[in-house]
């Protein structure tokens, strides 16, 4: 195990290892904390860019008729919004948290593969520069939706190869990150920390990493087939040449469904850290929580076609994917119940991380309910491709994954910066965010049920009212996030000094190191108590 960390031969002489100053530090660092910070800052930047696109979408949808953008650009906005939020905001944020927290949680000196760690960050960075540059090429950015369905995606202009190549780079980056997490967790846990003693955030990431390794190559294969159909006249997805456009949908969702768990499982891990801390009581049913994550991960591989019930599937296929999808509700329910039971007979306080965790608990569950409804095929024939679906996945991704990430930032930021943040500002951020997210997304359930389809820049006039409400919620939500940015900057610059324990000394190795965490931690494996 110590060999794994031999990049730091000077173990025990931490003072010789002060980081270089200025830009060089960030370009050359192999330190897990620095790389974690870079991932988190990158993610925040992408959250704002993707959010700006969402603001434009909501502004256009504020009233019927086309006021601000033309339909082709609108489709570019929806496509880029999704790609940026999924691959640029949510995933890098969880990777950043993994980099920072997994070594601290398992008592390792660093990630196992520090240089690859840095490489995967810069791959991601350039992947996004490439993707964003497609906005400026003839024909504009991809406009086929993030699902990239052929034949529509083959009508993309010069952005096409750039988008595909940036997806390849993102995939390579994700796979490297995942390998790093697995190698670190498997080899570098402090002596005595058996797998079933490992903190749940690390557990959730271990399983997420396996999901990434399993499905990113599938996605890469799928988009490569698009590339050869486009340039080399293969016919994977072209019926005229013996192919099938629906094949791509199967390949995409075989990746795409585990992908949604790649985004939510780390949030599950985060919530499982925060609720016990602020209930002052260990997690209820630890082993069940681990097994629930593992079963969700397994089931995520056998439910993909529920995204495509309307393509015309055999009856047996429809029944299979309905039942397998509904099964996911069982382990997910176990998690929700165990979190509630953790609060039961606890001693609860409501600091910002807990507020976000509780909002997660309620609002993610709402997303779970609409998910259950979507699993029922006959009803899905109505829901499919409407705003009901938009409401559903935004409920699981925004108050789900994004709230989980925000909760994590509020939970661990004092450990990262050594400062307590402005509690009053954090509470304003929470309440604004939690209320506006509902004003934004809840009416979209109504819009979808009443018959408004997804991915349209304009709509029939009876949908005006709820679109206006949703847009007002959107603007409020977007502006509230500027408070978050301001709060983070303030906290990095200064503030009340945080103790090592920060929150009434929770359990876990990360609370045994000082705040801010020194540049090098656990150069000697810590002892478990």
């Amino acid at each position: 195990m110590t060999q794994m960390a031999h990049g730091h031969e000077a173990a025990g002489h931490g003072d010789q290892h002060a980081p270089p100053k200025g830009l060089v530090r960030w370009l050359t660092t192999t330190n897990h904390k620095d790389i974690g910070t870079m991932y988190l800052v990158f993610s925040l930047a992408m959250f704002l860019v993707g959010g700006a696109f969402a603001m434009m979408i909501r502004a256009e949808l504020f009233q019927p008729g086309l006021q601000l953008v033309d339909p082709p650009f609108f489709n570019q906005l929806t496509t880029m919004h999704a790609l940026i939020m999924v691959f640029g905001a949510v995933m890098p944020a969880t990777v950043g948290l993994a980099n920072w927290m997994i070594p601290l949680q398992i008592g390792a000196a660093d990630m196992a593969l520090p240089r690859m760690n840095l490489f995967s960050f810069w791959l991601l960075f350039f992947a996004f520069m490439l993707l964003l540059s497609t906005l400026f090429v003839p024909g504009g950015a991809p406009a086929s939706g993030w699902t990239l369905y052929p034949p529509l995606v083959l009508q993309t202009g010069q952005a096409f190869p750039m988008a595909i190549f940036s997806i390849h780079l993102m995939g390579a980056s994700s796979i490297m990150g995942a390998i790093n997490v697995i190698v670190t967790i498997v080899n570098m846990r402090t002596p005595g920390m058996t797998l079933l003693k490992m903190p749940l955030f690390s557990w959730s990431w271990l399983i997420t990493a396996y999901l990434l390794i399993a499905v990113m190559p599938v996605f890469a294969g799928g988009v490569t087939m698009l590339l050869t159909d486009y340039y080399f006249h293969t016919s994977f997805f072209n019926a005229a040449g013996g192919g099938d456009p629906v094949l791509f949908q199967h390949v995409f969702w075989f990746f795409g469904h585990p992908e949604v768990y790649i985004m939510i499982l780390p949030a599950f891990g985060i919530i499982s850290e925060i609720i016990p801390t602020f209930s002052r009581k260990p997690i209820f049913g630890y082993e069940a929580m681990v097994y629930a994550i593992a079963s969700i991960a397994f089931l995520s591989f056998i439910v993909w076609a529920h995204h495509m019930f309307t393509v015309g599937m055999p009856l047996a296929g429809e029944l299979f994917f309905t039942l397998s999808t509904m099964l996911i509700a069982v382990p997910t329910g176990v998690k929700i119940f165990n979190w509630t039971a953790t609060m039961w007979r606890g001693s609860l306080t409501f600091e910002p991380p807990m507020l976000f965790a509780l909002a997660f608990l309620f609002l993610f569950t709402i997303g779970g309910f609409s998910g259950l409804m979507l699993a029922i095929v006959p009803a899905d024939f109505q829901y499919h491709d409407t705003y009901f679906v938009v409401a559903h996945f935004h409920y699981v991704l925004v108050p789900g994954a994004v709230f989980g990430i925000m909760a994590a930032v509020y939970y661990w930021m004092p450990k990262w910066t050594g400062h307590m943040y402005d509690m009053r500002l954090a509470k304003w951020h929470f309440w604004l965010t939690a209320i506006f997210v509902n004003v934004l997304f809840f009416p979209q359930h109504f819009l979808g049920l009443a018959g408004m389809q997804r991915r349209v820049p304009d709509y029939a006039t009876q949908f005006t009212d709820w679109n206006m409400v949703s847009s007002i919620g959107g603007f409020g939500f977007g502006l509230s996030q500027l408070l978050f940015v301001w709060l983070i900057i303030k906290c990095v610059k200064g503030g009340e000094r945080a103790t090592a324990g920060v929150w009434d000394w929770p359990h876990g190795l990360e609370w045994t190191v000082p705040s801010p965490a020194p540049y090098h931690t656990f150069e000697k494996s810590p002892e478990l108590h």
Binding site: P71, M343, Q382, M420, V456
Partner: protein, 272 residues
């Protein structure tokens, strides 16, 4: 440590109020739910949907109730002391694994029977081939010698241009009107064969309860029917992203009593 400020509830209250006032004053409350529709199929789908809604609300009442109770009852500020021995409870955990499983199976069973009915194309009296194009529809009455294209109505098309200066609210059936609607007889099982010429489209009229993809190079099928006592005009749209004008290829179906439909069909066959 006490970092919870006393006035922390103030922003909460202010914003709850703000959220309420954001509700539209002139909201049409019938726009909150799925339409019941005008066919046996659509009513059964609506029934499925409502069962799901009620089950979800019931589960929500129990789980949210427990969460809210815990949040109120077990507050440190009210002197709650953590019971650190409460780590697991095999019986309880078994219960909240098994009970949801049973509920789920109960939910799934009625959908099977409905699904079988939906996928049963037998006994149709009329077959119409529907082809999606960027961005309009073609309808062919197979064996009847009638075929036509159906595009967004001119009034909507003018109003929807950016900077047209036309208020969509002044256009009748904005984005839901076409030049040549699909005409069908009521009280008849009609089989639709769906395909597309360029990219994938999807044919959807909410009042009929169904949508299905129209895929280039493949033939999908679905069936619709309109209750014999509900002739009228029903509107829908393309439901699969199909490019720039995806939002501008509506579907309008006029359902006529059988004799009137026969007369219409005869006239169409002659004029073509």
């Amino acid at each position: 440590m006490s970092i919870v400020k006393r006035n922390s509830k103030l922003p909460a209250a202010i914003f709850a109020l703000a959220a309420l006032t954001a509700l539209p004053a002139r909201a049409d409350w019938s726009l909150l739910n799925m339409p019941k529709g005008v066919s046996t199929l659509s009513r059964e789908i609506y029934g499925m949907h409502m069962i799901m809604v009620w089950i979800c609300l019931a589960i929500a009442a129990v789980t949210f109730g427990a969460m809210i109770f815990a949040m109120i009852r077990f507050r440190k500020s009210k002197g709650a002391v953590a019971d650190t021995k409460l780590l697991h409870n095999a019986r309880l955990e078994a219960a909240w694994t098994l009970v949801p499983t049973i509920i789920l199976i109960a939910m799934a069973i009625p959908s099977v029977e409905k699904l079988i009915k939906i996928e049963d194309m037998s006994g149709s009296e009329l077959t119409i081939k529907v082809t999606g194009y960027q961005w309009y529809w073609q309808y062919e009455y197979l064996g009847k010698g009638v075929s036509f294209y159906s595009r967004l109505a001119r009034t909507s098309d003018l109003a929807r241009q950016r900077g047209s200066g036309i208020d969509p609210n002044t256009v009748e059936n904005y984005l839901l009107e076409v030049d040549h609607p699909l005409v069908v007889p009521v009280g008849t099982k009609i089989r639709l064969l769906l395909t597309a010429n360029d990219v994938i489209h999807a044919w959807w009229v909410p009042d009929f309860g169904m949508k299905r993809d129209a895929i280039p190079g493949f033939m999908n099928e679905m069936w619709i029917s309109v209750d014999a006592d509900k002739p009228g005009t029903y509107r829908g749209k393309c439901a699969e992203l199909c490019g720039a004008d995806h939002g501008f290829m509506p579907i309008v179906v006029v359902a006529l009593p059988k004799p009137e439909f026969a007369a219409w069909l005869g006239q169409q066959a002659v004029t073509e």
